[in-house]
């Protein structure tokens, strides 16, 4: 059993945690025509916006209720109402996702109830979806905020009814550990079984880095709000990540659509489980392409395991992402030398490591001594340098590399990519590793010569 060790420090050093409102906003960006609105002071929005811009290299539509000291004390419902009116007029979004912050939650406001009254006052808002998610800073990190937003979308938009189901339609509640490219990969895998997936949120539609041919002041694509309303008509829900469990449970409660939780779909075993589920739901055998990808992954594992064997790897990431990578590393023969997550999570107990620390990058720096590789976000670049270790950038934010959002690490193909990327980094930095590969090739040539000489 993995021991989960809570932090006892009063001072967080180099935070791994971001605000749940940021995570919540990111989930809303995976909905088409949406605009997330932070209910807080201006800075709350500005910081989250800058960080997401640096990570995605895209314009991030994000707005603020611009709370001042006075409006905070008096109550911010008026600001929320004014903000919705202004955003509707200027940006014409299909959906506004309202996210609370520590500031407005500390004051204690019931925005959910206020929204009903606002709607009555504004019949002209009939074509606008409003979703309120409670995402105070003291309630977690990116995953918690993301999960809370998806749950709020379901509870606000999905009708409470058990109607006829479309048996070829499946829901995917995608966790924050999936990149836009991961969402795309999952869509393609599901479609290859002749099924149509409804992915929520779908960052592949919005934050995949495309250049639209006109100006769009909201998210540039993603799950259409109309599709969210259809979630109750699917045959099954696949929830990706422990932090999507509350959203999946809410959907089942409302609509009766059963759900199946996958911690992740990275690694051979996890990908197999996902494919098996698709075979079962679709009633069709796996397509040839999928079979071929599995074979390629196995080949990559055969080629790659030498470089993972016996290595100690330090990882800091949001819980579900850490679990996905740690499981793969363990399967390849590496040890999780240090594991740090920002907040407690049931997923932590399933991490293949002796201990998981709830903490920050300061804790990672202390625990990573003697490891061979650090896996963490870009904030860890300086600590990795101080430790003299290579850094594999993963998670959020990755701002000093291009293409992070386009990295695929799900399914057979994605896992193979991840193995190659990790193995190449280990190869670059391991003493004598080049010699090992070269030596190996040399031996092979000698063997061949030998065989030829004997044949001759």
């Amino acid at each position: 059993m993995t021991e989960v060790v809570p932090s006892t420090k009063a001072c967080a050093v180099n935070p791994l945690k971001v605000s749940p409102a940021l995570g919540g906003a990111m989930a809303f960006l995976g909905v088409d025509g949406s605009l997330p609105l932070f209910h807080g002071s201006q800075g709350c929005t500005a910081f989250a916006l800058v960080l997401m811009v640096r990570h995605f290299h895209e314009a991030i539509p994000l707005q603020t209720t611009a709370m001042s000291e006075l409006t905070t004390i008096l109550g911010g419902a008026d600001n929320v109402e004014a903000a919705i009116g202004n955003i509707r007029e200027r940006n014409q979004p299909k959906l506004i996702g309202i996210l609370s912050t520590a500031l407005t939650e500390t004051r204690g406001e019931d925005i959910g109830a206020e929204l009903k009254a606002m709607r009555e006052r504004h019949p002209e808002w009939h074509d606008l979806d409003l979703v309120y998610a409670s995402t105070p800073d003291y309630g977690g990190s990116l995953e918690e905020g993301w999960g809370a937003s998806v749950k709020a979308m379901i509870e606000t938009l999905v009708p409470e009814e058990r109607g006829p189901r479309t048996l070829r339609q499946v829901n995917v509640l995608a966790g924050s550990h999936l990149t836009p490219a991961d969402a795309e990969e999952i869509r393609e895998i599901i479609e290859s079984f002749g099924l149509s997936p409804l992915i929520l949120p779908d960052l592949a539609g919005s934050l995949d880095g495309h250049v639209p041919d006109h100006h769009i002041p909201t998210s540039l694509g993603g799950t259409p709000p109309a599709a969210i309303r259809e979630l109750g008509r699917s045959a099954v829900t696949f929830a990706m990540g422990e932090h999507m469990r509350p959203a999946a449970e809410a959907l089942t409660r409302r609509t009766g659509v059963p759900f199946r939780l996958f911690d992740h779909v990275t690694g051979l075993a996890a990908s197999d489980a996902f494919i098996a589920a698709l075979m079962e739901v679709s009633g069709t055998p796996a397509p040839e392409r999928v079979k071929r990808e599995r074979s390629r992954l196995i080949d990559a594992m055969l080629d790659g395991h030498f470089f993972f064997e016996g290595k100690h790897i330090a990882i800091a990431a949001e819980s579900d992402l850490l679990l996905a990578v740690a499981a793969l590393l363990a399967a390849m023969g590496a040890h999780v030398g240090a594991a740090v997550i920002p907040c407690p999570s049931p997923a932590a107990a399933r991490v293949p490591a002796a201990r998981v620390l709830v903490g920050d990058l300061g804790d990672l720096e202390k625990a990573a001594h003697g490891c061979d590789l650090v896996i963490a976000n870009s904030h860890a670049r300086e600590l990795a340098e101080r430790l003299g270790l290579p850094l594999f950038r993963l998670g959020f934010p990755v701002f000093d590399r291009l293409g992070g959002p386009q990295r695929v690490s799900v399914g057979y193909r994605g896992t193979r990519c991840l193995i190659f990327d990790l193995a190449n980094l280990l190869l670059d930095h391991a003493a004598g590793a080049h010699a090992a590969v070269g030596g190996n090739a040399h031996e092979l040539l000698e063997e061949e010569h030998h065989a030829q000489a004997q044949a001759g």
Partner: protein, 476 residues
């Protein structure tokens, strides 16, 4: 307490912008208008205070609040250090729900203690945030107690985000320095050539571009406030002979109060643009002489200016041919809205618009001086309108901050970062050469014609060339 402070900074005799306002307008503060919910952008007072003080590189900067304030913002500024790196470490009390219910003072004290015991910094700056202001944590009292018991200066920075804009936060940071830092230490030595530079944060190493100029004149920066600063330098800043205020809006109030307390004269100058750099050096020399520096300083300064200007103009000359007539949309604020203009004029570029969003009346006057009465001054341009301007080809390049970066890029228009997040330094004579070099590199990058070529499925395809020879070959 914060209220008194705000009333004080809202009435700034050293700020002409401020003095032009009526009594009532002045009480409303520095933001041009109150923030519009749902249509506001930009940082907060906490952000401004942190920007101003964090470049004190050997100090620890502790943010007292829930995670967003530091968790979402640390490690995002390019203020460079020539030595210590402690300022790059993100410290926060990361308040949880229980801390907020019971109050965060004890946790704050413990956090300061942990920092002092593990890192031994010369000082700890503690930043109040919205939530800790709201729950009424007495941060000043905790800092006082910690200073006494731990034997390390612990400085409260009372600039919670909801107090106002980033600019207000800069000013409140200046107040924190006046109340708790400047004048608390004596410098080891003083010279008649000692100056402070206020409001220059060494972004991308810009301070280092002008420091060699000072060095050649024998001028010493006693305290950079605060780019690449050490705590003891700032604490001893009251012994400088002259204060130079760069980007006046942020710290002019600090300069004025230093003049009142320690009789240090100040002037507002800029290191952006050739003419301005020269003017700043000249003014600095005159003021130092008026305070006892030898009179030959001015002659030496003029000689340096003549030499440097000749060198800079010679370096810019080759770019004239490549850049003359190209149209620039300059979307920045304050000093840069005009200081960059003169450099662009020098190489024959055409300014199709310069934003005056955050500019003072003097800034606007300077723009008119440079470009005449019909100067194309623009206010806020909504993203949609800017997208249209750039799509229609009204400018060849947009120079702005990161916020409008993607508006330009998505229209396939060249873009150059001239704001906070930039990685290239543009100060002094060398900085201006670097700026022009980068404008040229960006404008003439072959990527632009390449990505503007029509797609194979567009009607215009073929006529663009490229594809036809390949097709012909295939037939052959």
């Amino acid at each position: 307490m914060l209220k008194d402070k705000l009333a004080k900074v809202f009435n700034e005799p050293g700020c002409s912008h401020n003095q032009e306002k009526s009594e009532k307008e002045r009480k409303r503060g520095c933001s041009a208008k109150s923030l519009t919910p749902g249509a506001a952008a930009g940082g907060c007072a906490f952000d401004g205070a942190k920007i101003a003080l964090q470049p004190i590189t050997d100090a620890a900067h502790l943010v007292h609040g829930p995670i967003a304030c530091e968790g979402n913002s640390w490690d995002s500024r390019n203020s460079a250090s020539s030595g210590p790196t402690l300022y790059r470490t993100g410290f926060t009390t990361d308040l949880g729900e229980l801390d907020i219910i019971h109050g965060g003072e004890k946790k704050l004290y413990r956090a300061i203690k942990e920092i002092v015991h593990e890192r031994h910094p010369p000082a700890v700056f503690v930043y109040v945030t919205c939530v800790t202001a709201l729950i009424g944590d007495d941060v000043e009292a905790v800092c006082r107690a910690a200073s006494e018991r731990l034997g390390t200066p612990v400085i409260p920075v009372n600039a919670p985000g909801f107090a106002g804009s980033k600019n207000l936060g800069n000013k409140l940071a200046g107040e924190a320095l006046l109340d708790h830092v400047i004048g608390t230490l004596e410098p080891e030595t003083t010279t008649p050539f000692d100056i402070n530079v206020l409001g220059e944060y060494n972004v991308a190493g810009e301070l280092w571009q002008v420091q060699p100029l000072f060095a050649r004149l024998g001028i010493r920066i006693l305290a950079p406030i605060t780019g690449d600063a050490r705590y003891h330098q700032v604490a001893a800043a009251h012994r400088a002979r002259v204060n130079m205020v760069v980007c006046s809006q942020a710290l002019v109030s600090l300069a004025r109060q230093m003049q009142e307390r320690w009789e240090i004269p100040y002037f507002e100058g800029s290191f952006y643009g050739i003419a301005d750099t020269s003017m700043s050096l000249r003014t600095l020399a005159r003021l130092l002489i008026s305070r006892g520096a030898p009179a030959d300083l001015l002659e030496r300064t003029e000689a340096l200016i003549a030499e440097e200007e000749a060198r800079a103009f010679a370096a810019l000359a080759p770019y004239r041919e490549r850049l003359a007539g190209k149209r620039v949309l300059l979307y920045t604020g304050g000093v840069k809205s005009w200081s960059v203009v003169s450099a662009l004029h020098e190489i024959g570029m055409v300014i199709v618009g310069t934003s005056v969003r955050k500019s003072t009346d003097e800034d606007k006057e300077r723009i008119r001086e440079l470009m005449g009465e019909d100067a194309p001054m623009v206010d806020q341009i909504p993203a949609k309108q800017m997208y249209k301007m750039l799509s229609d080809g009204e400018a060849d390049i947009l120079m702005s901050g990161g916020r409008t970066q993607f508006v330009a890029l998505k229209t396939k228009t060249p873009w150059l970062d001239i704001n906070q997040e930039r990685h290239h330094a543009y100060a002094g004579y060398d900085g201006m050469i670097e700026l022009v070099r980068r404008i040229d590199g960006e404008l003439n990058n072959p990527v632009w014609p390449e990505i503007r070529r029509p797609a194979p499925w567009d009607a215009a395809f073929g006529s663009a060339g490229e594809a036809e020879p390949v097709a012909a070959e295939m037939h052959a």
